[in-house]
Amino acid sequence: MSRTDTAPGLAARSAPYRAVIASRVSSQRSHRTSFRVDLLSSLLVGLVELAEVAVLYLQVERIGGLDLAAALLVFAIADVGFSVADMVVGHCDNIPTYVRAGTLDVFYLRPQPLLLQLMTSDLQLRRIARAAVGVVALVVALGLTDPPFTVRTVALLVVALVSATLCFAAMFVWAGGVQFFLIDGAETTNAFVYGGRYAATQPATVWGRPLLVVFGFFFPMAFTAYLPVVTLLDLDGGQQLGLPGWIGWTAPLAALWAWALAAVSWRLGVRHYQGGGG
Protein backbone atom coordinates (compact mmCIF):
# COMPACT_ATOMS: atom_id res chain seq x y z
CA MET A 1 0.00 0.00 0.00
CA SER A 2 1.52 3.35 -0.95
CA ARG A 3 1.63 6.30 1.40
CA THR A 4 -0.87 8.31 -0.58
CA ASP A 5 -3.52 5.63 -0.06
CA THR A 6 -3.30 5.68 3.70
CA ALA A 7 -3.74 9.40 4.31
CA PRO A 8 -7.30 9.80 2.94
CA GLY A 9 -8.02 6.21 3.99
CA LEU A 10 -7.56 6.91 7.69
CA ALA A 11 -10.87 8.71 8.17
CA ALA A 12 -12.68 6.03 6.22
CA ARG A 13 -10.97 3.20 8.07
CA SER A 14 -11.67 4.64 11.50
CA ALA A 15 -15.32 5.23 10.60
CA PRO A 16 -16.55 1.84 11.91
CA TYR A 17 -14.78 2.41 15.24
CA ARG A 18 -16.21 5.91 15.57
CA ALA A 19 -19.68 4.56 14.85
CA VAL A 20 -19.27 1.81 17.45
CA ILE A 21 -17.95 4.19 20.12
CA ALA A 22 -20.75 6.68 19.44
CA SER A 23 -23.31 3.90 19.88
CA ARG A 24 -21.72 2.81 23.20
CA VAL A 25 -21.85 6.38 24.46
CA SER A 26 -25.48 6.86 23.57
CA SER A 27 -26.48 3.44 24.95
CA GLN A 28 -24.90 4.18 28.32
CA ARG A 29 -26.52 7.56 28.51
CA SER A 30 -29.97 6.19 27.78
CA HIS A 31 -30.24 4.32 31.13
CA ARG A 32 -29.88 7.45 33.19
CA THR A 33 -30.42 6.13 36.73
CA SER A 34 -28.13 3.17 36.23
CA PHE A 35 -25.54 5.48 34.66
CA ARG A 36 -25.70 7.83 37.66
CA VAL A 37 -25.20 4.98 40.14
CA ASP A 38 -22.27 3.81 38.03
CA LEU A 39 -20.76 7.30 38.01
CA LEU A 40 -21.17 7.53 41.78
CA SER A 41 -19.55 4.12 42.33
CA SER A 42 -16.62 5.06 40.12
CA LEU A 43 -16.19 8.33 41.96
CA LEU A 44 -16.18 6.40 45.22
CA VAL A 45 -13.57 3.95 43.90
CA GLY A 46 -11.29 6.92 43.28
CA LEU A 47 -12.00 8.46 46.69
CA VAL A 48 -11.42 5.22 48.60
CA GLU A 49 -8.13 4.65 46.81
CA LEU A 50 -7.13 8.20 47.66
CA ALA A 51 -8.10 7.60 51.30
CA GLU A 52 -5.97 4.44 51.46
CA VAL A 53 -2.92 6.56 50.69
CA ALA A 54 -3.90 9.67 52.64
CA VAL A 55 -4.79 7.86 55.90
CA LEU A 56 -1.32 6.32 56.10
CA TYR A 57 0.56 9.57 55.42
CA LEU A 58 -1.60 11.45 57.93
CA GLN A 59 -0.26 9.06 60.59
CA VAL A 60 3.44 9.67 60.00
CA GLU A 61 5.53 12.55 58.69
CA ARG A 62 7.29 10.72 55.88
CA ILE A 63 7.34 7.22 54.41
CA GLY A 64 10.24 6.30 52.15
CA GLY A 65 11.18 9.97 51.72
CA LEU A 66 7.69 11.13 50.68
CA ASP A 67 5.54 13.47 52.75
CA LEU A 68 1.76 13.69 52.34
CA ALA A 69 1.92 16.28 49.53
CA ALA A 70 4.52 14.36 47.51
CA ALA A 71 2.68 11.07 48.11
CA LEU A 72 -0.49 12.74 46.87
CA LEU A 73 1.32 13.80 43.69
CA VAL A 74 2.58 10.23 43.13
CA PHE A 75 -0.95 8.90 43.73
CA ALA A 76 -2.50 11.46 41.38
CA ILE A 77 -0.20 10.74 38.42
CA ALA A 78 -0.57 6.97 38.87
CA ASP A 79 -4.33 7.23 39.30
CA VAL A 80 -4.96 9.42 36.25
CA GLY A 81 -2.79 7.09 34.17
CA PHE A 82 -4.49 3.97 35.47
CA SER A 83 -8.04 5.33 35.13
CA VAL A 84 -7.53 6.37 31.52
CA ALA A 85 -5.86 3.06 30.65
CA ASP A 86 -8.65 1.18 32.43
CA MET A 87 -11.26 3.11 30.46
CA VAL A 88 -9.64 2.32 27.11
CA VAL A 89 -8.29 -1.24 27.51
CA GLY A 90 -9.52 -2.34 30.97
CA HIS A 91 -12.04 -4.76 29.49
CA CYS A 92 -9.18 -6.99 28.36
CA ASP A 93 -10.04 -8.43 31.79
CA ASN A 94 -13.14 -9.96 30.19
CA ILE A 95 -11.18 -12.19 27.82
CA PRO A 96 -11.58 -15.33 29.99
CA THR A 97 -15.37 -14.75 30.02
CA TYR A 98 -15.42 -14.37 26.24
CA VAL A 99 -13.23 -17.44 25.79
CA ARG A 100 -15.38 -19.58 28.10
CA ALA A 101 -18.61 -18.47 26.45
CA GLY A 102 -17.12 -18.90 22.98
CA THR A 103 -18.12 -15.35 22.04
CA LEU A 104 -14.55 -14.43 21.20
CA ASP A 105 -14.91 -16.23 17.86
CA VAL A 106 -17.18 -13.46 16.65
CA PHE A 107 -14.33 -10.98 17.02
CA TYR A 108 -12.07 -13.18 14.94
CA LEU A 109 -14.61 -13.26 12.11
CA ARG A 110 -14.67 -9.50 11.64
CA PRO A 111 -12.05 -7.92 9.39
CA GLN A 112 -10.70 -5.66 12.13
CA PRO A 113 -7.78 -6.17 14.54
CA LEU A 114 -8.88 -8.08 17.65
CA LEU A 115 -7.45 -5.60 20.15
CA LEU A 116 -9.13 -2.61 18.50
CA GLN A 117 -12.46 -4.44 18.56
CA LEU A 118 -12.06 -5.35 22.22
CA MET A 119 -11.15 -1.75 23.07
CA THR A 120 -14.27 -0.39 21.45
CA SER A 121 -16.52 -3.26 22.62
CA ASP A 122 -17.16 -1.90 26.09
CA LEU A 123 -15.91 1.67 26.51
CA GLN A 124 -17.11 2.57 30.00
CA LEU A 125 -17.91 6.26 30.35
CA ARG A 126 -18.44 5.90 34.10
CA ARG A 127 -14.69 5.46 34.49
CA ILE A 128 -14.36 9.15 33.66
CA ALA A 129 -15.59 9.86 37.20
CA ARG A 130 -12.65 7.94 38.57
CA ALA A 131 -10.14 9.84 36.48
CA ALA A 132 -11.75 13.04 37.79
CA VAL A 133 -10.64 12.15 41.34
CA GLY A 134 -7.09 11.74 40.07
CA VAL A 135 -7.20 15.07 38.24
CA VAL A 136 -8.45 16.93 41.34
CA ALA A 137 -5.78 15.20 43.45
CA LEU A 138 -3.20 16.26 40.87
CA VAL A 139 -4.23 19.92 41.06
CA VAL A 140 -4.26 19.88 44.89
CA ALA A 141 -0.91 18.04 45.06
CA LEU A 142 0.69 20.52 42.67
CA GLY A 143 -0.59 23.34 44.85
CA LEU A 144 0.86 21.71 47.99
CA THR A 145 4.23 20.67 46.59
CA ASP A 146 4.51 23.91 44.62
CA PRO A 147 7.14 22.98 42.02
CA PRO A 148 8.42 25.99 40.01
CA PHE A 149 6.07 26.78 37.14
CA THR A 150 8.53 26.26 34.33
CA VAL A 151 8.68 24.54 30.96
CA ARG A 152 10.67 21.75 32.64
CA THR A 153 7.92 21.08 35.21
CA VAL A 154 5.14 21.06 32.64
CA ALA A 155 7.14 18.90 30.24
CA LEU A 156 8.02 16.37 32.95
CA LEU A 157 4.39 16.17 34.09
CA VAL A 158 3.18 15.59 30.54
CA VAL A 159 5.87 12.96 29.96
CA ALA A 160 4.93 11.25 33.25
CA LEU A 161 1.17 11.26 32.62
CA VAL A 162 1.48 9.96 29.05
CA SER A 163 4.02 7.30 30.03
CA ALA A 164 1.97 6.20 33.05
CA THR A 165 -1.14 5.78 30.90
CA LEU A 166 0.82 3.83 28.29
CA CYS A 167 2.47 1.64 30.96
CA PHE A 168 -0.85 0.70 32.59
CA ALA A 169 -2.48 0.12 29.21
CA ALA A 170 0.42 -2.19 28.37
CA MET A 171 -0.18 -4.07 31.63
CA PHE A 172 -3.83 -4.71 30.70
CA VAL A 173 -2.84 -5.93 27.23
CA TRP A 174 -0.04 -8.09 28.65
CA ALA A 175 -2.53 -9.63 31.08
CA GLY A 176 -5.03 -10.10 28.25
CA GLY A 177 -2.50 -12.12 26.28
CA VAL A 178 -1.62 -14.28 29.28
CA GLN A 179 -5.30 -14.92 29.97
CA PHE A 180 -5.65 -16.87 26.72
CA PHE A 181 -3.47 -19.48 28.43
CA LEU A 182 -4.74 -19.21 32.01
CA ILE A 183 -8.55 -18.83 31.67
CA ASP A 184 -9.48 -19.98 35.19
CA GLY A 185 -6.26 -18.64 36.64
CA ALA A 186 -6.96 -15.08 35.50
CA GLU A 187 -6.47 -13.84 39.05
CA THR A 188 -2.74 -14.49 38.63
CA THR A 189 -2.49 -11.50 36.30
CA ASN A 190 -4.48 -9.36 38.76
CA ALA A 191 -1.50 -9.66 41.07
CA PHE A 192 0.53 -7.64 38.58
CA VAL A 193 -2.09 -5.38 36.97
CA TYR A 194 -3.90 -4.30 40.14
CA GLY A 195 -0.90 -5.07 42.32
CA GLY A 196 1.03 -2.87 39.89
CA ARG A 197 -1.45 -0.05 40.37
CA TYR A 198 -1.01 -0.39 44.15
CA ALA A 199 2.77 -0.52 43.75
CA ALA A 200 2.75 2.58 41.53
CA THR A 201 1.41 4.68 44.43
CA GLN A 202 4.24 3.57 46.74
CA PRO A 203 7.74 5.04 47.09
CA ALA A 204 10.07 2.47 45.50
CA THR A 205 12.59 3.10 48.30
CA VAL A 206 10.51 0.94 50.70
CA TRP A 207 10.82 -2.13 48.47
CA GLY A 208 13.25 -4.96 48.98
CA ARG A 209 15.24 -6.35 46.07
CA PRO A 210 12.59 -8.84 44.81
CA LEU A 211 9.86 -6.18 44.68
CA LEU A 212 12.28 -3.78 42.98
CA VAL A 213 12.98 -6.36 40.30
CA VAL A 214 9.29 -7.13 39.72
CA PHE A 215 7.61 -3.72 40.11
CA GLY A 216 10.63 -1.45 39.66
CA PHE A 217 11.92 -2.80 36.41
CA PHE A 218 10.24 -5.89 34.90
CA PHE A 219 6.81 -4.27 35.20
CA PRO A 220 8.09 -0.67 35.34
CA MET A 221 5.61 0.62 37.92
CA ALA A 222 8.15 2.81 39.72
CA PHE A 223 8.60 4.72 36.45
CA THR A 224 4.91 5.60 36.14
CA ALA A 225 4.73 8.14 38.97
CA TYR A 226 7.28 7.75 41.75
CA LEU A 227 10.49 8.32 39.80
CA PRO A 228 9.10 11.28 37.78
CA VAL A 229 8.00 12.89 41.06
CA VAL A 230 11.44 12.29 42.59
CA THR A 231 12.99 14.12 39.61
CA LEU A 232 10.35 16.84 39.62
CA LEU A 233 10.64 17.67 43.31
CA ASP A 234 14.38 16.97 43.46
CA LEU A 235 14.03 14.31 46.19
CA ASP A 236 16.81 11.88 47.08
CA GLY A 237 14.82 8.71 46.32
CA GLY A 238 16.72 8.21 43.05
CA GLN A 239 20.13 8.29 44.74
CA GLN A 240 18.95 5.84 47.40
CA LEU A 241 18.15 3.39 44.63
CA GLY A 242 21.46 4.12 42.91
CA LEU A 243 19.76 5.96 40.06
CA PRO A 244 20.68 9.39 38.65
CA GLY A 245 18.56 12.46 39.52
CA TRP A 246 17.19 12.74 35.97
CA ILE A 247 15.79 9.18 36.04
CA GLY A 248 12.18 10.49 35.87
CA TRP A 249 12.76 11.59 32.27
CA THR A 250 13.29 7.97 31.23
CA ALA A 251 9.62 7.08 31.86
CA PRO A 252 8.93 6.84 28.07
CA LEU A 253 11.61 4.13 27.81
CA ALA A 254 9.78 2.21 30.54
CA ALA A 255 6.54 2.57 28.58
CA LEU A 256 8.32 1.27 25.49
CA TRP A 257 9.58 -1.77 27.42
CA ALA A 258 6.10 -2.41 28.86
CA TRP A 259 4.60 -2.34 25.37
CA ALA A 260 7.27 -4.73 24.10
CA LEU A 261 6.15 -7.16 26.82
CA ALA A 262 2.51 -6.54 25.98
CA ALA A 263 3.06 -7.08 22.24
CA VAL A 264 4.84 -10.41 22.75
CA SER A 265 2.22 -11.63 25.23
CA TRP A 266 -0.71 -10.54 23.07
CA ARG A 267 0.68 -12.13 19.88
CA LEU A 268 1.35 -15.43 21.62
CA GLY A 269 -2.07 -15.39 23.28
CA VAL A 270 -4.03 -14.60 20.12
CA ARG A 271 -2.18 -17.31 18.18
CA HIS A 272 -2.72 -19.82 20.97
CA TYR A 273 -6.48 -19.37 20.88
CA GLN A 274 -8.13 -22.35 19.22
CA GLY A 275 -11.73 -21.17 19.03
CA GLY A 276 -14.79 -22.26 20.90
CA GLY A 277 -15.71 -24.99 18.44
CA GLY A 278 -19.30 -25.61 17.59
Binding site: S41, V60, I63, G64, G185, T189, A191, Y198, V206
Partner: protein, 268 residues
Protein backbone atom coordinates in the same frame (compact mmCIF):
# COMPACT_ATOMS: atom_id res chain seq x y z
CA UNK B 1 -41.22 -26.90 55.39
CA UNK B 2 -37.60 -26.61 56.43
CA UNK B 3 -34.65 -28.90 55.88
CA UNK B 4 -32.96 -30.50 58.87
CA UNK B 5 -29.49 -29.59 60.11
CA UNK B 6 -28.20 -32.56 58.11
CA UNK B 7 -29.42 -30.98 54.86
CA UNK B 8 -27.49 -27.78 55.49
CA UNK B 9 -24.41 -29.76 56.47
CA UNK B 10 -24.64 -31.62 53.14
CA UNK B 11 -24.95 -28.28 51.29
CA UNK B 12 -21.89 -27.00 53.15
CA UNK B 13 -19.90 -30.07 52.12
CA UNK B 14 -21.15 -29.67 48.53
CA UNK B 15 -19.94 -26.05 48.50
CA UNK B 16 -16.58 -27.22 49.83
CA UNK B 17 -16.24 -29.85 47.12
CA UNK B 18 -17.47 -27.58 44.34
CA UNK B 19 -14.68 -25.13 45.07
CA UNK B 20 -12.10 -27.93 45.00
CA UNK B 21 -12.49 -28.27 41.22
CA UNK B 22 -11.06 -24.83 40.51
CA UNK B 23 -7.41 -25.58 41.20
CA UNK B 24 -5.85 -23.13 38.76
CA UNK B 25 -8.09 -20.38 40.09
CA UNK B 26 -6.90 -21.15 43.59
CA UNK B 27 -3.28 -20.93 42.45
CA UNK B 28 -4.01 -17.58 40.80
CA UNK B 29 -5.58 -16.37 44.01
CA UNK B 30 -2.55 -17.46 45.97
CA UNK B 31 -0.19 -15.55 43.67
CA UNK B 32 -2.36 -12.43 43.97
CA UNK B 33 -2.70 -12.70 47.77
CA UNK B 34 1.03 -13.16 48.26
CA UNK B 35 2.03 -10.34 45.88
CA UNK B 36 -0.30 -7.88 47.57
CA UNK B 37 1.00 -9.18 50.90
CA UNK B 38 4.58 -8.27 50.01
CA UNK B 39 3.53 -4.80 48.81
CA UNK B 40 1.61 -4.26 52.05
CA UNK B 41 4.65 -5.41 54.04
CA UNK B 42 6.86 -2.88 52.21
CA UNK B 43 4.68 0.17 52.81
CA UNK B 44 3.30 -0.69 56.27
CA UNK B 45 6.67 -1.77 57.71
CA UNK B 46 8.12 1.51 56.43
CA UNK B 47 5.22 3.41 58.05
CA UNK B 48 5.70 1.68 61.43
CA UNK B 49 9.45 2.31 61.32
CA UNK B 50 8.88 5.95 60.35
CA UNK B 51 6.63 6.30 63.39
CA UNK B 52 9.49 5.15 65.62
CA UNK B 53 8.73 1.43 65.83
CA UNK B 54 5.13 1.61 66.97
CA UNK B 55 2.00 2.95 65.28
CA UNK B 56 -1.41 2.82 66.97
CA UNK B 57 -0.35 -0.21 69.04
CA UNK B 58 1.21 -2.07 66.11
CA UNK B 59 4.92 -2.89 66.09
CA UNK B 60 6.56 -4.54 63.08
CA UNK B 61 5.60 -8.03 64.31
CA UNK B 62 1.96 -7.13 64.91
CA UNK B 63 1.65 -5.43 61.53
CA UNK B 64 3.17 -8.51 59.87
CA UNK B 65 0.59 -10.71 61.62
CA UNK B 66 -2.16 -8.31 60.53
CA UNK B 67 -0.98 -8.39 56.90
CA UNK B 68 -0.59 -12.14 56.52
CA UNK B 69 -3.69 -13.17 58.47
CA UNK B 70 -5.85 -10.71 56.50
CA UNK B 71 -4.29 -11.76 53.17
CA UNK B 72 -4.90 -15.41 54.09
CA UNK B 73 -8.57 -14.65 54.79
CA UNK B 74 -9.13 -12.87 51.47
CA UNK B 75 -10.07 -15.97 49.49
CA UNK B 76 -12.61 -16.95 52.13
CA UNK B 77 -14.53 -13.74 52.77
CA UNK B 78 -16.62 -12.33 49.95
CA UNK B 79 -15.60 -8.67 49.69
CA UNK B 80 -16.65 -8.25 46.07
CA UNK B 81 -20.38 -8.80 46.54
CA UNK B 82 -20.70 -11.10 43.52
CA UNK B 83 -23.07 -14.03 44.04
CA UNK B 84 -24.87 -16.54 41.84
CA UNK B 85 -28.00 -15.76 43.83
CA UNK B 86 -28.14 -12.15 42.57
CA UNK B 87 -28.27 -13.50 39.01
CA UNK B 88 -30.93 -16.08 39.97
CA UNK B 89 -33.08 -13.33 41.45
CA UNK B 90 -32.63 -11.14 38.37
CA UNK B 91 -33.62 -13.91 35.99
CA UNK B 92 -36.40 -15.24 38.22
CA UNK B 93 -34.74 -18.66 38.66
CA UNK B 94 -34.97 -18.06 42.40
CA UNK B 95 -38.63 -19.08 42.11
CA UNK B 96 -37.34 -22.66 41.80
CA UNK B 97 -35.29 -22.21 44.99
CA UNK B 98 -38.45 -21.19 46.84
CA UNK B 99 -40.07 -24.48 45.83
CA UNK B 100 -37.34 -26.55 47.46
CA UNK B 101 -37.96 -27.83 50.98
CA UNK B 102 -35.01 -25.88 52.38
CA UNK B 103 -34.72 -22.33 53.61
CA UNK B 104 -33.32 -20.17 50.78
CA UNK B 105 -31.12 -18.17 53.12
CA UNK B 106 -29.93 -21.23 55.03
CA UNK B 107 -29.01 -23.07 51.83
CA UNK B 108 -27.15 -20.06 50.44
CA UNK B 109 -25.18 -19.47 53.62
CA UNK B 110 -24.30 -23.16 54.06
CA UNK B 111 -22.97 -23.41 50.48
CA UNK B 112 -21.01 -20.15 50.77
CA UNK B 113 -19.43 -21.16 54.09
CA UNK B 114 -18.44 -24.51 52.58
CA UNK B 115 -16.68 -22.73 49.72
CA UNK B 116 -15.02 -20.32 52.11
CA UNK B 117 -13.68 -23.12 54.28
CA UNK B 118 -12.26 -24.94 51.29
CA UNK B 119 -10.49 -21.75 50.14
CA UNK B 120 -8.36 -21.88 53.28
CA UNK B 121 -6.63 -25.04 52.00
CA UNK B 122 -5.21 -23.92 48.64
CA UNK B 123 -5.22 -20.15 49.28
CA UNK B 124 -5.38 -19.19 52.93
CA UNK B 125 -2.90 -21.53 54.58
CA UNK B 126 -0.25 -21.28 51.81
CA UNK B 127 -0.52 -17.46 51.91
CA UNK B 128 0.01 -17.52 55.66
CA UNK B 129 2.89 -19.99 55.23
CA UNK B 130 4.59 -17.67 52.72
CA UNK B 131 4.27 -14.82 55.20
CA UNK B 132 5.63 -16.90 58.07
CA UNK B 133 8.56 -18.29 56.10
CA UNK B 134 9.59 -15.22 54.08
CA UNK B 135 8.73 -12.28 56.31
CA UNK B 136 8.16 -13.81 59.73
CA UNK B 137 4.98 -13.67 61.79
CA UNK B 138 5.21 -13.79 65.61
CA UNK B 139 2.94 -16.20 67.49
CA UNK B 140 0.27 -14.63 69.71
CA UNK B 141 1.30 -14.21 73.36
CA UNK B 142 -1.51 -16.32 74.75
CA UNK B 143 -2.25 -19.89 73.73
CA UNK B 144 -6.01 -19.39 73.77
CA UNK B 145 -5.77 -16.71 71.07
CA UNK B 146 -5.74 -19.60 68.60
CA UNK B 147 -9.02 -21.35 69.53
CA UNK B 148 -10.80 -18.04 70.03
CA UNK B 149 -9.29 -16.80 66.77
CA UNK B 150 -10.64 -19.83 64.91
CA UNK B 151 -14.13 -19.15 66.32
CA UNK B 152 -13.76 -15.54 65.20
CA UNK B 153 -12.65 -16.72 61.76
CA UNK B 154 -15.66 -18.99 61.36
CA UNK B 155 -17.94 -16.15 62.45
CA UNK B 156 -16.25 -13.84 59.93
CA UNK B 157 -16.83 -16.10 56.90
CA UNK B 158 -20.42 -16.68 58.01
CA UNK B 159 -21.09 -12.94 58.45
CA UNK B 160 -19.60 -12.36 55.01
CA UNK B 161 -22.10 -14.88 53.58
CA UNK B 162 -25.12 -13.49 55.47
CA UNK B 163 -24.19 -9.93 54.43
CA UNK B 164 -23.76 -10.63 50.70
CA UNK B 165 -27.08 -12.44 50.97
CA UNK B 166 -28.65 -9.12 51.99
CA UNK B 167 -27.03 -7.48 48.98
CA UNK B 168 -28.36 -10.17 46.63
CA UNK B 169 -31.92 -9.93 47.98
CA UNK B 170 -32.00 -6.22 47.13
CA UNK B 171 -32.59 -7.58 43.64
CA UNK B 172 -36.20 -8.31 44.58
CA UNK B 173 -36.80 -4.55 44.54
CA UNK B 174 -34.30 -3.21 42.03
CA UNK B 175 -33.71 -5.03 38.78
CA UNK B 176 -30.12 -4.04 38.11
CA UNK B 177 -28.02 -4.62 41.26
CA UNK B 178 -24.63 -4.24 39.58
CA UNK B 179 -24.25 -0.63 40.73
CA UNK B 180 -24.90 -1.66 44.35
CA UNK B 181 -22.53 -4.58 43.99
CA UNK B 182 -19.72 -2.27 42.84
CA UNK B 183 -20.50 0.07 45.73
CA UNK B 184 -20.29 -2.92 48.08
CA UNK B 185 -16.98 -3.99 46.58
CA UNK B 186 -15.47 -0.53 46.97
CA UNK B 187 -16.58 0.09 50.53
CA UNK B 188 -16.30 -3.39 52.05
CA UNK B 189 -12.55 -3.82 51.57
CA UNK B 190 -11.74 -0.36 52.83
CA UNK B 191 -14.04 -0.48 55.87
CA UNK B 192 -13.03 -4.07 56.68
CA UNK B 193 -9.46 -2.83 57.08
CA UNK B 194 -8.02 -4.64 54.06
CA UNK B 195 -5.30 -2.18 53.09
CA UNK B 196 -4.86 -0.30 56.35
CA UNK B 197 -6.05 -1.42 59.83
CA UNK B 198 -9.15 0.59 60.68
CA UNK B 199 -7.37 1.65 63.87
CA UNK B 200 -5.16 3.89 61.68
CA UNK B 201 -8.25 5.78 60.49
CA UNK B 202 -9.13 9.20 61.88
CA UNK B 203 -11.60 8.87 64.78
CA UNK B 204 -14.76 9.66 62.79
CA UNK B 205 -13.87 7.21 60.03
CA UNK B 206 -13.07 4.44 62.50
CA UNK B 207 -16.46 5.01 64.16
CA UNK B 208 -18.15 4.91 60.77
CA UNK B 209 -16.38 1.64 59.90
CA UNK B 210 -17.36 0.08 63.24
CA UNK B 211 -21.00 0.87 62.47
CA UNK B 212 -20.86 -1.51 59.48
CA UNK B 213 -20.51 -5.32 59.49
CA UNK B 214 -17.31 -5.13 57.43
CA UNK B 215 -14.70 -5.03 60.26
CA UNK B 216 -16.39 -8.17 61.65
CA UNK B 217 -15.39 -9.96 58.42
CA UNK B 218 -11.68 -9.19 58.51
CA UNK B 219 -10.40 -6.74 61.12
CA UNK B 220 -11.73 -8.43 64.27
CA UNK B 221 -10.65 -12.01 63.48
CA UNK B 222 -7.26 -10.65 62.39
CA UNK B 223 -6.91 -8.82 65.72
CA UNK B 224 -7.90 -11.90 67.72
CA UNK B 225 -5.75 -14.38 65.76
CA UNK B 226 -2.68 -12.16 65.76
CA UNK B 227 -3.08 -11.56 69.50
CA UNK B 228 -3.21 -7.78 69.09
CA UNK B 229 -6.21 -7.80 71.38
CA UNK B 230 -6.37 -10.30 74.22
CA UNK B 231 -8.54 -11.14 77.18
CA UNK B 232 -11.69 -9.08 77.36
CA UNK B 233 -10.81 -7.19 74.17
CA UNK B 234 -10.77 -10.41 72.17
CA UNK B 235 -14.00 -11.62 73.77
CA UNK B 236 -15.59 -8.27 72.98
CA UNK B 237 -14.62 -8.62 69.29
CA UNK B 238 -16.21 -12.08 69.16
CA UNK B 239 -19.37 -10.84 70.89
CA UNK B 240 -19.70 -7.99 68.40
CA UNK B 241 -19.34 -10.55 65.62
CA UNK B 242 -22.11 -12.67 67.13
CA UNK B 243 -24.25 -9.52 67.21
CA UNK B 244 -23.63 -8.84 63.51
CA UNK B 245 -24.35 -12.47 62.66
CA UNK B 246 -27.71 -12.39 64.43
CA UNK B 247 -28.61 -9.00 62.92
CA UNK B 248 -27.75 -10.02 59.35
CA UNK B 249 -29.53 -13.38 59.67
CA UNK B 250 -32.69 -11.68 60.99
CA UNK B 251 -32.56 -9.01 58.28
CA UNK B 252 -32.06 -11.72 55.67
CA UNK B 253 -35.06 -13.71 56.89
CA UNK B 254 -37.23 -10.61 56.80
CA UNK B 255 -36.01 -9.53 53.33
CA UNK B 256 -36.54 -13.04 51.98
CA UNK B 257 -40.15 -13.09 53.15
CA UNK B 258 -40.85 -9.56 51.89
CA UNK B 259 -39.03 -10.24 48.62
CA UNK B 260 -40.91 -13.45 48.02
CA UNK B 261 -44.13 -11.46 47.94
CA UNK B 262 -42.52 -8.96 45.53
CA UNK B 263 -41.12 -11.61 43.25
CA UNK B 264 -42.43 -11.32 39.76
CA UNK B 265 -41.51 -14.07 37.38
CA UNK B 266 -41.96 -13.22 33.77
CA UNK B 267 -43.31 -16.36 32.23
CA UNK B 268 -44.26 -17.01 28.70
Amino acid sequence: MRGSGRTYWRLLVAGFRRQSTYRLAALGGLVANATFGFLKVAILFAAVRAAGGELEGYDVGAISAYIWVSQAMLGSVNLNGRTDLAERIRTGDVAVDFLRPVDVQGAFVATEVGRSLFAFLPRGLPTLAIGVLVVGVPLPDHAWALPLGLVSLLLAVTISATTVYLLATSGFWIVETRGLQILYMVLSGFLAGLFIPIWFFPEWLAVLASATPFPAMLMYPTDVLSGRVDGSGALMHVLVQVGWLLATVAAGQWLTRAGRRRLEVQGG
